[in-house]
């Protein structure tokens, strides 16, 4: 499919000034209304004419959706808060350094100044076949072009694939899952709150979406409970170049230790599946073990169920090493 980059097709632009107006618009427009956060990805897709929405709801003017504040013991982050603000905010850095680091690793300073936390976790996959406009499974077709004998799939999934092998490109999503964040979803009908882990979906459950957000719904808040505030953490992102690139594999972990013993951990991998891949079995296996032993065990078992494709076997070793380093404390803050 040819990519046209001269100008984007026209659409009706709505710029609500408050959340109620945004929700009313989202409810009224339904699937025809495209929610625009920072626009880093959306505008590119409009110009490429791979997405041609009839209406765009720009959330940039909705003050309720931006900012960082304490709410009791929780830290509440508005989804329209820029990644730069998340990475630099003193409360985030003090309590949840993992999220600050993850946000600071996204793309490049220019992108982080414009891109938002909500946009980063809700963004679509970067699979180049899908992005090229091919009618693959995720686009409503009947084939995954990446998972063919001729497919180029070095950046695709090694875990959780079900027909589609695209991955979630978000750096902040694994951090939010590790920190047991809760996401508040708003709509004209009301609000619902879900664990970050349940916010993301794999192709086995829904092959056309990466999140549970439905038409008419808006991500309202990202709430970080105190459970892991101030805990040691680890975050590593491996990419082809040190800036402006998506992860080949990223890893977010938070740990509770007593001396040399690892009491509890939450370890989440990114860019290995269509959703942040929590290693719950590893967490259970390493709890209560001496740290060195736990690290060796975790590294060995980290992605035992992985099914690499023709060009991404390296991700298995990469993930194993990242998990080992996180548990062993090589990157712990």
């Amino acid at each position: 499919m040819a990519t046209v980059r001269d100008s984007m097709p026209s659409f009706d632009l709505y710029q609500p000034a408050d959340l109620d107006a945004a929700l009313a618009l989202a409810g009224r427009l339904g699937p025809a209304g495209w929610l625009l956060a920072g626009g880093c990805d959306s505008l590119e897709r409009f110009k490429d004419r791979h997405k041609t929405p009839k209406a765009v709801i720009d959330l940039g003017g909705v003050a309720e959706l931006a900012g960082i504040r304490a709410d009791g013991d929780d830290l509440v982050i508005g989804p329209m808060t820029t990644l730069t603000d998340v990475a630099r905010h003193p409360l985030v850095r003090e309590r949840f350094g993992l999220l600050a680091r993850a946000a600071g690793e996204v793309a490049a300073p220019q992108i982080r100044n414009q891109g938002t936390l909500g946009g980063n976790i809700a963004q679509d996959t970067r699979c180049w076949y899908y992005r090229a406009g091919w009618t693959c499974y995720r686009a409503g077709g009947n084939l995954c072009y990446a998972d063919t004998p001729q497919g180029r799939n070095r950046e695709h999934a090694i875990l959780g694939a079900s027909r589609c092998v695209a991955v979630s490109p978000s750096d902040t999503a694994p951090a939010l899952v590790a920190l047991e964040a809760r996401l508040v979803i708003r709509s004209a009908a009301g609000r619902r709150e879900v664990a970050a882990e349940d916010f993301f979906v794999g192709p086995d459950r829904d092959i056309t979406r990466l999140t549970i957000l439905k038409p008419g719904e808006v991500l309202g808040e990202i709430r970080l409970p105190p459970a892991w505030a101030g805990a040691p953490w680890a975050f590593e992102k491996v990419r082809d170049r040190p800036v402006w690139d998506f992860a080949l594999v990223n890893m977010a972990a938070v740990l509770r230790t007593t001396g040399d013993r690892l009491d509890k951990a939450r370890v989440v991998l990114g860019a290995v599946a269509a959703r942040p891949w929590r290693l719950a079995a590893i967490e259970a296996a390493v709890a209560g073990r001496p740290r060195a032993e736990a690290a060796a065990l975790a590294g060995r078992l980290a992605v035992a169920e992985a099914r690499p494709l023709s060009h991404n076997g390296y991700k298995v070793t990469l993930a194993q090493n990242l998990v080992f380093r996180a548990i062993a404390g090589k990157e712990a803050a």
Partner: protein, 281 residues
Amino acid sequence: MNLVVRGASPWGQPIILHAAWSLLWLCLAGAAAFVVVHALWVRRRAGAPAGPVPPELAGAFPGAVARHSFVARVFHWLMAACVLTLLATAFSPRFGLAFDWVGPHVLAGAVLVAAIAFHIAHAITCQDVGAIWPVPADWPQLRAVLFPPRDGAAMPRAGKYPLGNKLFHLGAVVVGLTLAATGTAMLWRVRTPFVTRDPYRFFGDGGWGVVYALHGLAAMALAGLVVIHIYFAIRPEKRPITRSMLVGTMDRDFYLGHHDPARWGGEGPAPKESAKEAGSA
């Protein structure tokens, strides 16, 4: 309304992607309309009596006339379980129920294909394979449905299978074999324990689109057929036939009232000679 959803191949050629899923509602609505119209029609029509039972025949057949062998009944209910599983796994996600449906769908489909292959072999070798196909001798049944007999005349009697059964089976054969053939081919498109995945083994993008479209269209037709089949299974006047699919036999009076011993003398040992003579009289 379109039958299929179209897209483009990577080379920009227009291709079929799959069936238009909105047709499911049409199939279900059609089946529901058939059920309602039939139920009203049955209530309004004057019920023609079953044929009289000649006394000499009553003594020629056991109280419970064998209709379906154990193997045939196991196949039927296994197929029913597979079909319901396949329909549920295929269409529940379209109603918004999100779950990992591919595995159960493929497994049920594989079992169904194996069961169909067994059924064909069993029917050819162990059963009267011709009994299930519509034949000219069934014409009086159709005529009696369209123009019910008057003056208390009896309804014409069927062979082993009433014409309605035969027509349903014919539809199920067409739809089922389409699903089995396309579904088997589609095993090469997903990762399963059965075959090594090779998505371009048989067809190009356009050819596969036709396969997916046929699979989807047949599946939606099957959903409608299943609704109609279940409706007839629970109708009061059909319950002896349904019961025979559970226990294998039907009551002698029902048999002699609705079936023609000259065309079907029951399964198992042949009836007494007098029965044959009376039946053909």
